[in-house]
Amino acid sequence: MALFSQKNLRRYGKPFVFALFLIPAVWLIYNWVQAYAGAPHDLGFNPQETSNRFTGDWALRILLLSLALTPLSLLTGSPRWILFRRMTGLFAFFYVCLHITSYIWLDMQFDWSELWTDVVKRIYITVGFTALLCLLPLAITSTAGWVRRLGAKRWQKLHKLVYAVGVLAVIHFIMMRKGFQFEPLIYGAVLAGLMVFRLPMVKSWLRRRTQQKPINAGV
């Protein structure tokens, strides 16, 4: 286990995971550069639509991944997963930002009045916008300084908002699709599965099983 020691994970694991999370964004930007240059690209015949979906998919996947790290540490009895929690959460936020950029710039072309109409009138966009509003304070208070300023207890309480973000994001996805489709429901099922680990009884049972102390925030 020395290979995966806290020190090694901090020194090599984090940059590695960081690079991994960047791959979808690099792919997207590379393909837009290609498209802009009139060169072959993989964005299809409606690149704006592709971008919206691609960034939304990755935002949701990484968000769910960030929610999976605490259960993983409980299941494996190792706190090491938590080392990556903040980075994962911030990457989810990063892809949400790309998602919104794609929507406002590529899709709506900065038509602010129509954008506002969309937010107010189209429920799935209202839901998505609410998710963004919930995610914003979490991203802002992600620094060690903010943990100190708020105090671990209050900080943790605030960051429970991430559950609301998860639920809203899945609803946003389900509503976006036409007809009865499985794909968004799969994300919903994963989210529900991850929420089971938040039930106090499941949590304490796992802790007893792995003899693990409660995991502190901001590791």
């Binding site: 015949f45 409606n46 072309q109 429920i123 007809g179």
Partner: protein, 319 residues
Amino acid sequence: MLIKHRENWHASENEVTSEQHYLNRRHFIRSATGGVLAATALGVSQTVFARENRTLQPLTYSKTAYNPGEDLTPEDAITSYNNFYEFGLDKSNPSENAWRLEPKPWSVKVSGMVDAPGDYAFEDLIDMKALEERIYRLRCVEGWSMVVPWIGVPLASVLKKLGPQSGAKYVAFETLADRDQMPGIRYPVLDWPYVEGLTLPEAMNELAFIAVGLYGKEIPNQNGAPLRLVVPWKYGFKSIKSIVSIKLTDRKPATSWNKSASNEYGFYSNVNPEVDHPRWSQARERRIGEFSRRKTLMFNGYGEQVAHLYTGLDLEKNF
């Protein structure tokens, strides 16, 4: 005079890989790569040939004045960016999966309030000597649009042949729903088979068209082979594909999207920039291939030909 001083790290001649081995290595790599490439090519060709197993025959047709005078959407965009949920939910799924569809032979069941009901072979329903090309705008409810050169016959000519009875008010169409040919049918996305309909006056309008071709050839499977409806003043989903049933009735047919979400998809589904869809603003549209969006026209720009069909009808309610 050249004095050769041999450093201790210099390899001697006999330590060097022999030319034969060196060439062998190249040969080995070449053959190994060749093998992999051949296997890949075989795999790829199997899928590609399977997909391409139907050669689309060129059609004989007359040109018409139905032409908005706009740039045509490229053929590869029209044939690979499709909504045809029977073949999958992604835009690319229909062109990937539609090779499974067997459009020949094809028959259409004609029923309801007609003088000549029965099962019609494709050849008896469509007069292939009367084919004409009509270039229409196509507007999808999702907010994108195309300009498509269809080939076919007016729907009215087909209906007249069938002889609608005086009490008939609506025409209902059904798409094929065959699990073996259409992988999307396995999922309950919609209540299969897909159903669409028009009022009889709409169906008899000069613009309503049955397409059997596209870009000078037979229509590809993913675009609704062997025959599909084209209703250019309505959103794309009204233009039902791969038709297997035509039924004339005196009652408004329950259409698939209307059943799925009645607050989103009405029976009429006319292109109307004034009436928003709950998920997509209809004020603008993106022509496939263009970066910016343009304003959507009332009835997709066909108001002159169709607006009279809706006099006295509240289009906000009857969307």
